[in-house]
Symmetry: C2
Subunit: 191 residues, 2 copies
């Protein structure tokens, strides 16, 4: 078993036999990304479901003025990417890239079809996975509605303290939906 992190990710939601896991592991595409590299750019059709083995990735969209808006920050142990584009074949509106060297384990369509057919339990896993991604975004909307930028910042660094060292602060600001100057102002109160 080369990737116990991945096995644990499955075991969190389903009871997966080591054999069924190995059927997948043998077909994974291992991809290494440098610091500051793109995985996905707007307009592309997503051909892989990527799992973050090491490192972290940032998902942002561009508005009409070309400004970045960070929608998701995902780290080791999580899936990411545009499930919608992967399953529907529609071009994505997202840009997904690294700011730290990152290793991904990726599943392509052929592998997805193979393992879900051979082991239907994987189907359940991915439905649960979408469901959880969905509920997480509903929570994110609720937080944007109900908490101040300061409260969202404190919550974020409580959950993921290492984030401040792993990506530029202006991306954290964007994720919190404020400007870098405002993030600095908030941070000044906690020194």
């Amino acid at each position: 078993m080369k990737y116990p992190t991945l096995y644990q990710a499955f075991r969190k939601y389903i009871n997966l036999s080591p054999e069924a896991y190995l059927d997948l592991e043998n077909r994974l595409v291992h991809k290494t990304l440098d610091k500051k590299e793109f995985l996905i750019k707007e307009g592309q059709v997503i051909r892989y479901l990527p799992f973050i083995h090491k490192g972290l990735m940032v998902n942002y969209r561009l508005d009409d003025e070309g400004e970045k808006h960070v929608i998701q920050i995902r780290w080791a142990g999580l899936w990411l990417g545009d499930l919608y584009s992967f399953f529907s074949g529609a071009p994505t509106k997202f840009n997904i890239r690294t700011y730290q060297p990152t290793e991904l384990l990726m599943i392509n369509h052929e592998t997805f079809d193979f393992i879900t057919e051979k082991h239907p339990i994987y189907e359940k896993y991915f439905r649960l996975s979408i469901q959880n991604a969905y509920i997480a975004t509903l929570n994110q909307i609720f937080n944007l509605h109900s908490s101040s930028a300061e409260a969202r910042y404190l919550e974020l660094i409580k959950n993921v303290p290492e984030l401040l060292n792993d990506i530029p602060h202006y991306l954290i600001a964007s994720y919190l939906s404020i400007k870098p100057q405002s993030l600095s102002r908030i941070r000044k109160n906690y020194k």
Copy 2:
């Protein structure tokens, strides 16, 4: 065929035979809600997937101070409710209620299991349905990040002009993540 609206909703994403549709139709629970009635309250476990046949419904969460935050407004032709709670059995954090007389067509677990087993195409439909709900919430986050309250208001009434007559304005304000007074201020500019 008693509910062509529902059939059309399926046909939007999948190729469903009338026979397969009728297998479901016979098992639907038809529910009529008065003006101002609750379908779901926080803490309950969701036992139905509701489709809005006529009318519209509002989904909100309460924050620590007990203030409502409207997360979704859904109208005829759409599914709603907490798919997560329905599938996982976890108690919901949402409150879902009417502000207009509304008719629902509901699927319980038994019916869901029956029709997805007999017609696996339904399984695909509900996966697509979750996917679309997920992508819609990601868009909602992007809009909260990138558009002013005024722009979000104009966009909303462009898409759903009748909303202003169908639910109290303070709920529209909440959905836009502003206060009723601010919504009034914005509306004053467009008279």
